[in-house]
């Protein structure tokens, strides 16, 4: 409850206030050692998987291209370590499917210095040319959606982008990697914003930061460019403030029409870490070989933010940070939208922003009771959908009705409905089931 004389902070309607557990937010980012073997999947982004251009037994240098992009909606993959290609074979990935990956046995004596760079002269390039150079560094959205950044920034035909929104809200509990990036790499973020604005043609950029990260706001303010094209706006600490739709609504008051992309209302959004990596790697011509990952959770002995080489298996990562024996569930991403994984052989990829380990007590599944029609979920849904009705329909497998009459496709699975449900009905899980069923049927038809 906000009192009338208090200053209103920009926000969106509905949403929830979970416990944030942002203890790792004041720990500096530290570098992580190489695992003996790195497993680099060929598909670390949305779009076509990359095509491997190395052979088994070949020696690779850190930063060398080991797989090339397959078309515009794809990204190249760079060797995360100097070593020798041991195999190109399927490994388990976070969806539970097997995916092709390049296995690199790391030369232990070599350091974490990037050996291969391919710098370009960036002055005088137009937007599309800059996007093509940007594809070479292989950066995908770091918030978890892993959309190739260069493809996201190019405005679709007929769309004029007037604002670049930089997402620094990081609303998921436990995750603090974006927070630390903003504190420690404000200069790189500003450089990245500059490149992104050149590609998308936006005359201004707004950075949205939640009001629980005021040290990040101070660091960013000190690095703001003098021309005033970039502004910072503090938004309320509320989940899911960092979703594309809600942050656009909080900062600009615009809503994306049903079934359309945010570019149709003149907005393109990027995560701060994505732009920090663009700002650092693009002038150097360096490939994406590592990323900052929050490793936290009650079952981790030494939580913190680490620069983890891509392809590091989670087993090695958790051993190194001292996973307690009580750890019973590992989640990739945040606790609200992240996915529990079924194997510790899954590697860290471009889309992994957090690795959280929980004990048995935290992940215990409560007993489900019937829906009492209290409407808590309706009040929590940031997309203003009707989770009550959709949940009842999902239980009856009326998936078509959910899609046709209740806008199932608009749900972005933030999990607010499941979080607030007093009957502990697994609503968002049922919506995922419904979406998966409809998608499978569409694919098989």
């Amino acid at each position: 409850m906000r009192l009338p004389f208090q200053k209103r902070v920009a926000t969106f309607e509905h949403g929830i206030h979970p416990e944030y557990h942002k203890e790792t937010g004041n720990l500096p980012i530290r570098r992580f050692p190489f695992a003996p073997k790195l497993y680099v999947p060929l598909s670390q982004h949305i779009g076509k998987p990359a095509i491997a251009i190395v052979t088994v037994g070949q020696e690779v240098l850190r930063g060398e291209v080991i797989a090339r992009a397959d078309g515009m909606f794809s990204l190249p993959i760079h060797a995360p370590a100097t070593g020798v290609v041991e195999a190109i074979s399927p490994i388990p990935c976070d969806t539970g499917e097997m995916e092709m990956a390049i296995v690199i046995r790391v030369y232990e004596a070599d350091g974490q210095e990037v050996r291969v760079r391919n710098p370009h002269n960036l002055d005088g390039l137009n937007g599309v040319e800059l996007a093509i150079v940007m594809q070479e560094i292989g950066v995908a959205g770091k918030g978890g959606a892993v959309f190739p950044t260069h493809a996201k920034l190019i405005p679709p035909n007929g769309c004029v982008i007037d604002t670049l929104i930089v997402n620094g809200s990081e609303c998921e509990p436990f995750l603090t990697c974006d927070h630390r990036i903003m504190v420690e790499r404000a200069q790189q973020i500003m450089a990245g914003i500059g490149y992104a604005m050149r590609v998308c043609g936006a005359p201004r950029a707004i950075i949205g930061v939640e009001d629980n990260k005021l040290d990040a706001v101070a660091a960013l303010e000190a690095a703001l460019p003098a021309d005033g094209t970039v502004t910072i706006k503090v938004v309320e600490t509320k989940y899911p403030q960092g979703a594309a739709e809600t942050l656009t609504h909080a900062l600009l008051g615009r809503e994306v029409p049903v079934g359309k992309r945010s570019s149709s209302i003149g907005v393109v959004m990027n995560n701060v870490m994505t732009l920090a990596y663009v700002g650092r790697l693009l002038p150097l011509g360096e490939g994406m070989t590592e990323r900052v990952v929050t490793v936290a959770g009650p079952a981790v002995a030494r939580p913190g933010n680490y620069i983890v080489p891509l392809g590091t298996p989670l087993r090695f990562l958790l051993d190194y940070v001292g996973a307690k024996s009580s750890a019973s569930e590992v989640i990739l991403g945040g606790p609200m939208m992240g996915n529990a994984i079924a194997s510790l052989d899954i590697p860290v990829t471009k889309g992994v922003c957090g690795v959280l380990a929980f004990g048995k007590r935290e992940v215990a599944v409560p007993h489900t009771y019937p829906c009492i029609h209290c409407g808590e979920c309706v009040n929590a849904c940031p997309k203003k959908l009707n989770p009550t009705q959709m949940g009842l329909l999902a239980a009856k497998r009326e998936y078509d009705l959910m899609a046709d009459k209740f806008f199932l496709s608009e749900c972005f699975e933030c999990g607010c409905c499941s979080y607030v449900c007093p009957s502990h009905i697994p609503l968002v899980q049922q919506f995922r089931v419904a979406k998966s069923f409809l998608k499978d049927r569409k694919n098989s038809a």
């Binding site: 388990p92 996915n339 079924a342 194997s343 899980q429 995922r432 089931v433 998966s436």
Partner: protein, 291 residues
């Protein structure tokens, strides 16, 4: 006087209006009359009214229309008893037709006593929910998750889950409606004719050693069935034996006898038998979860 007058006017007006509308309705019913074969209703009466769609039509009424016009044979309804279908054929004076009975077959034999688990799934009890949440924890990414979505969705109670967490199809009850095919997140069910004798009960595309390490009854692509079967009947594809059902008539039991894991099986209606060389598994309790 005034009251009587207004009642009279109202009565006459309503009578005129009524007879006028009746006249129009009488004309409309003559002019817009559509002839419908009375046999459609009779046939529909003899159908099971389950509207399952197994025959390939949009429902029982649609099936009745098509049988009357001769587009579809009475035997195509697999839900009805043969007796009932004979009545339909006799009513219409057409041949019963010779439609092979089809049933749902599962392409996995990895119950939890033979297939390893690498994680325990404890969320919403549905195969698809498990498969969306990190794949469900089974070591084999292709295998049956055993939470019984198919048994839930079956309108005819033809599928029950056995003690090892695998669905068992009651062939007598199965109507080949295909609901289990749609619901299975791993696409393990398919509708097959009962005359098909050879069946590949595995979908694991992994390398042979890895496949056998995850599941004791996985296909290891050893190729013995390819050699023992009729030429061209079985081939290897993606580390799996693939049966060419166009050569179904050539199928001999010899093809499965040397299978070391029992991934390829011999079907004889309800009876699913493994070859003589298949490893004998006497364990019935689940394997422990290995992370």
């Amino acid at each position: 006087m005034g009251t009587v007058y207004s009642v009279l006017v109202t009565g006459v007006f309503m009578a005129c209006l009524g007879s006028m509308l009746a006249f129009f309705l009488a004309i409309a019913s003559k002019r817009l009359y559509v002839y419908e074969d009375p046999r459609i209703d009779l046939v529909e009466e003899l159908l099971p009214h389950s509207n399952c769609g197994a025959c390939g039509t949009a429902g029982c009424r649609n099936f009745a229309e098509k049988t009357v016009t001769g587009e579809i044979e009475p035997a195509s309804c697999t839900v009805n008893t043969a007796e009932q279908n004979k009545h339909i054929a006799a009513l219409l004076g057409v041949a019963m037709g010779n439609v092979e009975k089809r049933v749902a077959r599962l392409a996995c034999a990895g119950g939890h006593h033979v297939a390893k688990m690498r994680a325990h799934y404890g969320g919403l009890s549905s195969c698809r929910a498990a498969s969306v949440a990190g794949g469900g924890g089974k070591s084999c990414s292709w295998g049956c998750l055993g939470l019984g979505d198919c048994a839930d969705v079956c309108d005819f109670d033809a599928i029950v889950m056995d003690k090892q967490g695998l669905p068992v199809v009651d062939l007598a009850k199965c109507t080949a409606c295909g609901d289990c095919v749609d619901i299975c997140p791993k696409n393990l069910f398919s509708i097959q004719g009962v005359t098909k004798k050879l069946w590949m009960a595995c979908r694991n595309e992994d390398e042979p050693d890895a496949a056998e390490a995850t599941c004791e009854v996985a296909c290891t692509a050893c190729g013995r069935c390819v050699v023992d079967g009729a030429p061209g009947l079985i081939r290897l594809e993606k580390n799996l034996a693939v049966i060419d059902y166009e050569k179904n008539a050539l199928a001999q039991r010899a093809a499965i006898e040397r299978c070391p894991t029992g991934a390829i099986v011999w079907l004889d209606n309800e009876c699913i038998t493994k070859g003589k060389s298949a490893k004998k598994i006497i364990r019935t309790e689940p394997l422990p979860v290995i992370a």
